[in-house]
């Protein structure tokens, strides 16, 4: 089982789906942020899995994964900054209440 790429990929897919669910369903900006982190990690898992199963990819895999982590970090920074900024204006982290821009 740990011998089958499928297992890893399915696992990552699952994580990705869960993340997307969180993103679609949660109201709190920060939990949406966390969901995105989940999704990014799902991708990382896939990448690592590819790396560990395909010879050619092995060295690159780790690097790419690292990059992805870094990107995730950057996104998180920006995201949290924005969240805080809007929180200052709206006094609520609940995204579905930010709907003065519409139609």
């Amino acid at each position: 089982m740990t011998n089958s790429l499928d297992a890893y990929l399915v696992l990552s897919g699952l994580l990705f789906a869960i993340g997307s669910f969180g993103f679609l369903a949660r109201r709190n900006a920060i939990s949406m942020l966390m969901s995105i982190e989940l999704m990014l990690n799902a991708v990382n898992l896939a990448i690592v899995a590819f790396g560990s199963f395909v010879d050619r990819l092995r060295p690159n895999a780790s690097v790419i994964a690292l990059m992805v982590i870094a990107v995730a970090a950057a996104e998180a920074t920006v995201g949290l900054a924005i969240v805080i900024a809007i929180y200052r204006n709206r006094r609520t982290p609940l995204v579905d209440e930010y709907d003065s821009l519409r139609q």
Binding site: I36, M39, N60, V63, M67, V78, I82, N89, L101
Partner: protein, 488 residues
């Protein structure tokens, strides 16, 4: 990593340095905007020169992950002018709202580096990173008026959906990489070439990857049904930022498409042709139909920018339909769209100089009387957006349509749809003209003074808008070189 490499990526380095320099200047002379502005614009000038120079020696760096060719140069210069113009338009808007210009410029230039990287990168990973580097500053800029709740709201929507789509895109990227075994565009293309030539079957996994990537990109260019962020983000953002967002990231995303879908996945175009056709039709139509009902000019222009994405997609579709001209048309349209749209937003920004002025249609009532020049320029940009000759917008449309007609088949119908859309679009563009020249303002607003930078920018955009329509030949050769550089 050789000296040659350094020369090749010198524009990039220069850009980063400019960004840093701007910040330093600001630290040195805090609160004064002229030095920062000067640094930024001069720096951009240098970057442009370097780009031109580097463009003379096409080649690759970093083992083929960074390519300099006609396309790169063309796009880079386009991006630089976009950023320069945005910086020119910004101060008049930011200062009254006491928002600093330095950070603005710096962040913007960081975004520029991202865009330039996209234009140049021939490596999937680099592409992704570059994309992030382009959009992350975008999120920040959208929220730049941080005490304005609308700005931040638009920003957070933009950010959340943006990173959602990034995740999706990345997922697809991972699969494509995993199945082709390389991040190098060339290798990927070769790998897929086998598949296209029937050497191997297109595996579902790869298809999945393609689907995810397409979705991610479609989001970035704001194609329907992935466009939702556009109106809100555009309306919320500070107007100069909106102007930038409406062209910079869009053209950037198209650059990504060129590098990725054309460069890497070109051999599979038969597979994504249908998808692009559908996307194009949907995008044009929805964008225009909704724009018809908007009373806020910024929001209206947001929807119109969606529609223009649709027109550009027609070019892409024509390419997928087997016509090199499609790419040329796409590039030409991109350039034309850039200047006319930036110009239009610049006028809106100029009108909003006084804080508190909304961008609703009523703001434009009587503008033709109040500030005739501004009114006339706005009319020019709107006519160009409509596609009335002799303007850039017209020629861009004609070019794209020509490509579509050449490709024939379903694309002819797409061309007709595009034209009907253009006709419908005329309604809302001209409505602004109606307000400017044929309606009297409800409350008499006094005319305002605008900075020289703004005027300079407006003249540049308007002159280009006309020239690109009257004398398209020069740009024409440029874009055809660019398209050829991409190969087909």
């Amino acid at each position: 990593m050789s000296g040659q490499d350094l020369l090749t990526i010198s524009p990039l380095i220069a850009a980063i340095l400019v960004a840093v320099a701007v910040l330093i200047v600001d630290l040195v002379a805090p609160g004064r905007r002229e030095p920062a502005l000067a640094t930024a614009l001069l720096g951009l000038g240098i970057v442009a020169i370097l780009t031109a120079v580097a463009g003379r020696t096409p080649g690759q760096a970093f083992g083929g992950s960074y390519t300099v060719d006609a396309l790169t140069t063309f796009l880079d210069l386009l991006f630089i002018s976009i950023v320069a113009l945005t910086i020119a338009f910004a101060p008049d808007y930011l200062e009254p709202r006491d928002l600093p210009i330095a950070e603005f410029a710096a962040v913007l230039i960081f975004a520029l580096t991202g865009a330039m990287l996209i234009a140049a990168s021939t490596d999937l990973l680099v592409l992704f990173l570059a994309l992030e580097l382009m959009v992350l500053p975008g999120y920040l800029l959208a929220a730049y008026a941080k005490r304005d709740s609308l700005s931040t709201e638009g920003a957070i929507k933009y950010f959340l959906l943006g990173s959602f789509s990034s995740a999706i895109f990345l997922f697809g990227l991972a699969y494509v990489w995993g199945l082709t075994g390389s991040t190098r565009v060339a290798d990927v293309a070769a790998e897929l070439g086998k598949i296209a030539s029937g050497g191997a079957a297109l595996s579902p996994g790869l298809a999945l990857g393609l689907a995810f990537m397409t979705t991610g990109v479609a989001f970035k260019i704001a194609a329907v049904p992935f466009h939702y962020w556009t109106p809100d983000a555009y309306q919320g953002s500070p107007t100069p930022v909106t102007g930038y967002l409406s062209v910079g990231p869009k053209v950037g995303a198209f650059a990504l498409i060129l590098r990725l879908f054309v460069g890497a996945l070109g051999s599979l175009r038969g597979d994504w042709l249908d998808v692009v056709i559908v996307l194009a039709a949907l995008t044009m139509t929805l964008g225009n139909l909704v724009a018809l009902t908007q009373n806020n000019v910024k929001r209206m222009l947001a929807y119109s920018s969606i529609a223009h994405t649709g027109y550009m997609l027609v070019g892409l579709a024509a390419y997928a339909g087997g016509r090199q001209e499609g790419l040329q048309g796409l590039l030409y349209y991109g350039a034309a769209y850039t200047f006319m749209n930036l110009g239009a937003f610049a006028v809106v920004a100029a009108l909003q100089r006084r804080p508190g002025v909304t961008s609703s249609l009523d703001t434009f009532a009587g503008l033709g009387r109040r500030e005739p020049l501004l009114g006339i320029l706005m009319t020019l940009f709107l006519l160009s957006l409509t596609g009335i000759p002799p303007t850039a917008g017209f020629f861009g449309k004609a070019y794209v349509i020509l490509a579509a007609v050449q490709a024939g088949g379903p694309l002819t119908i797409l061309a007709v749809i595009a034209m009907l859309n253009a006709a419908a679009a005329a309604f809302y563009y001209l409505r602004v003209v109606v307000y400017m020249f044929m309606r009297e303002p409800a409350t008499e607003a006094e005319s305002q003074r605008h900075g020289n930078l703004v005027w300079a920018g407006l003249w540049t955009t308007s002159v280009l808008t006309i020239l690109l329509g009257l004398i398209p030949a020069p740009l024409l050769s440029v874009v055809s070189d660019a398209a050829r550089a991409l190969g087909s």
